[in-house]
Symmetry: C2
DNA sequence: AATTGTTGCTTAATCGTTTAAACAAAAAAT
DNA sequence: ATTTTTTGTTTAAACGATTAAGCAACAATT
């Protein structure tokens, strides 16, 4: 049983395919299709369960109503959730999303980009990974519409939707300082990505603005690929210091998970031995015996806005560049409970 | 700058599009294309950065090299991970995956199915949700290839790849019994789905085979939609019983997360107050102060095999039905530490 | 009565491929 | 020298839709 096509309907109705197309696309008025025949066509279409062939439509129109979503790391629940938001929002607008994760690997990202371009996606939403600047330039050159999500490149003029990472990190620092912590560490990725630099910058400024001198031994930058054991070493180190750290900020979800596991192994008490604030968000943080304070990023808004920007651009390619930084919100939990209260 | 098409190359080379197509598809031998011209075409293609238009190819061939993956609940990390496996395996075989989550809702599943059918996916891999039997019948009637993943319907003859849930649940029970636990509860979803029934059946048999009389008050079936608070009530109840439960099996990841959070709130000690074994798997279970014993399902194998089955079916639609049940493996951790050891 | 306008429909090109069939020229066999 | 075979290439239809342009038939206007 083959799928019914316009032609099948046309044949059965004894008219040309043009008429059928007009009617089923609601163009009967403009194109002056006869009342009676229009009715008949609609009947037949329903009867024969006509479903238009997207491929043919797309080939003709040059629009696939498909968005390519390239995500740096889909195993991170923050990104997984944002992907869901993007998918839902796109669906609400009649778009389908094809998702790909490049696992923080620029080569993989290239492959994905090409596969999706060949699939004629109308545009991209991209959570960039390190070393993928050339890909952004490529898209710009080829005039393929795209919006950067969560991470962007300050040196490249693009549309983007991201979090104010400087501010978020600054706030995290301030929160701990206000809580009476004075030796505050930051665990981040070793990376040239702007969002990571911003998180480091915000952290440093928070210390500086409160007359705490930043110690370079407090900042631990670990490699994404060898996170598992580098995190352990880093924690060992910051705890062995003279000016031993009493609070630690994790700059990403992955670091937090690894770090907390190890802190568990060490039988350290949070927050008395070590206070914690983390980026990223996941129900997981509630599972820890002591709920984890974290920076809540406006996940829904980020996802929705990125779709909105992209769709606007698809409708009107000449629209101006859109850039927005959204604020994260600190969710205070027990893991950063004020030292001033429980000390003494 | 428009994309280069076959025609563009043909023009520049001064030949017909047919030749170009033959050469670029490696059919030069069968179709006897001249050595020289073939070379020239290949050169030009590279030079002009030719990328075939997938839409046109698909329209012509009737094959999109795209798989629709419908997942009951993508926010469950087990499913999220299996989705990644499916995606990777498909990519390795030159297929693209379009993922949709129906959030355990049969209507949403219908929508997804239709969207994807209109997009002309070649076939489906489906993690079914409750009440979606009609959709399976629909696919069978329309002769659209598909493979059920993780969940299947015993009353409908289909290809499927799933876990032996009966055995897994039985093993979970046996493990606890051997550990000296005698009052064992099971928290499951209220559902007609076969995989859930099997998990209940396995649990009951484990008790029965060890002369423990099953108490209906030990089995808690909660609604997926109102899981948050129903789980709490359920835990309250099984702890208030005369024959109070000393161990609890969570039949899914979502139940475990909610349950463990609440157990934390109650300040119950695992495993001394309550031992835990859970289905589902996630790094999260390591984060709990007391690592959680769980049934590891062969995630990689499940995903890969489902792709393999589907692709085989796409190549040869008449191939026989393939069904396989894989075994889960119990990963013993502290949360189910043998009572016989710590109780004097 | 000739012109113009309106209505209702068909024709045919197009999107970018694939591929069976046709064709012409050269080479081989009779 | 004619026929057959081989070789290299082109033609054109097809996939399933959209849509500008064309064409009758009839009605309305001059």
């Amino acid at each position: 049983m083959k799928k019914t096509s316009l032609k099948d309907i046309a044949q059965k109705a004894g008219v040309s395919t043009a008429l059928v197309s007009y009617v089923l696309n609601g163009k009967e008025k403009e194109t002056r299709v006869g009342e009676a025949i229009a009715h008949k066509i609609r009947e037949l279409a329903k009867e024969m369960n006509y479903q238009p062939n997207h491929l043919a439509k797309s080939l003709r129109s040059g629009k696939t109503h498909t968005i390519g979503l390239i995500i740096a790391d889909i195993s991170n629940p923050f990104f997984a959730n944002i992907a869901r938001v993007v998918e839902d929002e796109a669906k609400r607008n009649g778009y389908t999303v094809i998702i790909g994760s490049c696992d923080e690997n620029a080569d993989k990202s290239w492959d994905l980009l090409n596969v999706l371009i060949n699939r004629q996606v109308d545009g991209f939403i991209i959570v960039s990974c390190e070393g993928s600047e050339n890909q952004i330039h490529y898209l710009k050159e080829r005039n393929i519409p795209f919006v950067l999500l969560d991470r962007h490149f300050p040196d490249i003029q693009t549309d983007f939707v991201a979090t104010n990472n400087y501010k978020a990190s600054y706030d995290a620092g301030i929160h701990l300082i206000k809580g009476g912590y004075t030796h505050i560490g930051l665990m981040a990725y070793k990376s040239d990505m702007y969002h990571m630099e911003e998180r480091i910058r915000g952290y440093k400024h928070a210390l500086q603005d409160n007359q705490i001198e930043f110690q370079s031994s407090w900042l631990k930058e670990v490699q994404f690929e060898s996170m598992d054991h580098e995190v352990k070493t880093a924690i060992d180190e910051i705890l062995a210091l003279d000016h031993k750290v009493d609070a630690l900020i994790f700059a990403t979800y992955g670091l937090a998970i690894n770090g907390l596991k190890y802190i568990n192994e060490l039988r350290l008490k949070v927050p008395s031995d070590l206070a914690i604030v983390s980026f990223g968000q996941a129900e997981v943080f509630d599972l820890y015996y002591c709920p984890i304070t974290y920076m809540r990023q406006p996940l829904e808004m980020l996802g929705k806005t990125s779709v909105e920007y992209l769709l606007k651009k698809l409708k009107n390619p000449d629209e101006g560049m859109k850039q927005i930084l959204m604020e994260a919100k600190l969710i205070a939990r027990d893991s950063s409970f004020a030292k001033s209260v429980w000390v003494k």
